[in-house]
């Protein structure tokens, strides 16, 4: 239904203040997932934590790694120099850029430290679910 509360939840979770008002007022956080909308159709898209992540294959600095235990594809912003090769490589369009003087790439990290990712928790419709069978990923219950 495209209420975009998942985007809000994601932004707050990945902000310094972790508070909806403070985060939005004092920072310019970016959401690592995106709700796409066209007419009656809408869905949320985010990193699939691929088996064979093209973003990681292409990362020129080694900032992107795939955790062999959890399967999560992580992006180390400290190492990132913002060349955007990963954005070109990702067929899902699931990597974005942070705001600020030294922008870096940013993507879904499955919210480390949380039992349920912020986007899933924020979804009033329970349309987003956590899938853990093969690759970890947040997925739509009923992909449009």
């Amino acid at each position: 239904m495209a209420c975009r509360l998942c985007e809000v939840g994601c932004k707050v979770e990945h902000s310094e203040h972790k508070h909806v008002i403070k985060s939005f007022k004092r920072e310019k956080p970016v959401a690592r997932l995106l709700v796409e909308e066209s007419g009656p159709l809408s869905f949320a898209t985010q990193c699939r934590h691929c088996d064979e992540p093209a973003c990681m294959f292409g990362c020129i600095t080694g900032a992107i790694t795939k955790d062999p235990e959890t399967g999560i594809v992580n992006l180390n912003a400290e190492k990132c120099i913002g060349c955007w090769t990963c954005i070109l490589m990702c067929p899902y369009g699931s990597i974005t850029r942070t705001n600020g003087a030294r922008p870096t790439a940013a993507k879904c990290d499955m919210c480390p430290g949380r039992e349920v990712p912020a986007c899933v928790e924020a979804c009033p419709n329970r349309a987003l679910v956590l899938m853990e069978d093969e690759e970890p990923a947040v997925a739509l219950e009923d992909a449009a």
Binding site: C50, A54, G58, T61, G62, C83, W84, T85, P91
Partner: protein
């Protein structure tokens, strides 16, 4: 003499792709890694950022310091392989001889050094290794202005770094435009503008005819007759595959080492990947030398999986480039440089310049500058040869998954692996 299940020559991106792939299926086979450079594996594209002083020693590393240990790799750093006996499966370094069962040649390219009078003066550099960047960096205190010969990616990234280090830079390019392999005239102008905004001159259609000075570089003369004072000249006219190890051997070469879709050379059990290889370009459906990092990793990975007994084909090979100039993003892919013989859609607004090349209702290449988010969805249209139909009119606004044909969209929304990796 030590025998390795897997020997790898060259310690860079393709080598790492292979090692990570081998270890995903074979935890015990021995791996010997031979490198003439003495360093732990580092990111080659970062050398210009190192020169500019933006990246620390530690952040130069492409993989963590304990990588070789964790992956069970015996690394011989500073050990150049002098020769390979392909029939006997042996290789020689100054330190001795090793035997191997499977071999990966991932020795990359070497800079082409043009013959120019004065090319041996102090202050003339090439830019291909971390040590090149270190030497240039320590020479910088003597440099007020520099001339960079070559307006390709290496030349322009080096020019950018020198500007950031406070040097006055002139770029000299023989072709009629910069980045002529990647960009058409209009997009090349967008790049030139970023340099001009910094007060950097880019001269096209000319070259350096002579470098002058006593012991050190003092000036350079151009083929147009002009002379400019400078204390540094960087030669960056291109790289060529390092073929010395395979010259006069059964390994088939053309412009690079010719490999099949499995990344195997004409000698069974001997593989090649990265900048040295002439491998399959999935967009053009023919073999080509495509010296960019994503291809080196993906090709090395396919080689590694096959060396470890798998059956994989390389289908990620493509002309793909993404970089920034003074923070301004420039992305190109596929047939991005062509000027005619195709339908071209272009747009130029506050979000940047965009150009889409369409042949037979399929997107075959594109350039995006400025706003580049979701460029990967566009690249996938090229890779998957998706008929554009109505999509054509939407290209300039930015394509989302929602715009894709239903069947493809479904696959993508459900998919858990990168969709073009076919299993």
């Amino acid at each position: 003499m030590k025998t390795f299940t897997y020997a790898i020559i060259g310690n860079s991106v393709a080598a790492i792709g292979a090692i990570e792939a081998i270890r995903s299926v074979d935890r015990t086979g021995s791996i010997g890694l031979f490198s003439d450079e003495p360093h732990h594996v580092y990111s080659r594209p970062l050398i210009t950022h190192y020169l500019a002083g933006e990246v620390s020693e530690e952040k130069m590393l492409y993989r963590p310091p304990d990588f070789y240990e964790r992956y069970g790799v015996q690394a011989f750093l500073g050990a150049q392989v002098e020769s390979v006996e392909f029939e006997n499966r042996r290789l020689q370094t100054a330190g001795g001889e090793s035997a191997f069962e499977k071999l990966l040649i991932s020795v990359g390219g070497r800079p082409i050094v043009p013959k120019i009078a004065g090319g041996d003066l102090r202050g003339v550099f090439t830019m291909n290794t971390w040590d090149d960047a270190r030497e240039m960096k320590s020479y910088l205190p003597a440099v007020r202005s520099a001339m960079v010969l070559g307006g390709g990616l290496t030349g322009l990234k080096t020019a950018e770094a020198l500007v950031e280090a406070g040097v006055r830079v002139t770029v000299v390019e023989l072709a009629e435009r910069v980045l002529s392999m990647l960009l058409d005239r209009r997009s090349a102008e967008v790049v030139v503008k970023q340099f001009e905004n910094q007060g950097t001159r880019i001269l096209t259609g000319t070259t350096i005819s002579e470098i002058r000075g006593g012991e050190c570089v003092e000036s350079a003369s151009l083929s147009d007759g002009s002379t400019a004072e400078c204390q540094m000249v960087v030669l960056a006219i291109g790289v060529t595959p390092r073929l010395d190890l395979v010259q006069d051997t059964p390994v088939r070469t053309n412009r690079g080492i010719f490999v099949d879709r499995r990344m195997e050379t004409s000698v069974p059990g001997v593989f090649a990947a990265g900048d040295v290889a002439e491998a399959y370009d999935a967009l053009l459906d023919q073999n080509r030398v495509l010296p960019v990092l994503p291809n080196a990793y993906a090709g090395g990975r396919v080689a590694g999986l096959n060396m470890a007994g798998g059956e994989r084909t390389y289908d990620l090979g493509a002309s793909v480039n993404s970089t920034t100039f003074f923070g301004y993003p420039v992305v190109s892919a596929g047939s991005s440089a062509i000027e005619e013989g195709a339908e071209i859609i272009e747009g130029d607004d506050e979000n940047g310049y965009r150009r889409f090349i369409i042949q037979d209702d399929r997107l075959t290449g594109f350039v995006m500058t400025g706003e580049v988010n979701r460029a990967g969805i566009v690249l996938d249209l090229v890779r998957e040869r998706i008929p554009l139909n109505g999509l054509k009119d939407r290209l300039l606004d930015g394509i989302g998954l929602i715009d894709l044909p239903e069947e493809i969209r479904h696959k993508k929304l459900r998919g858990g692996t990168c969709c073009h990796e076919k299993h």
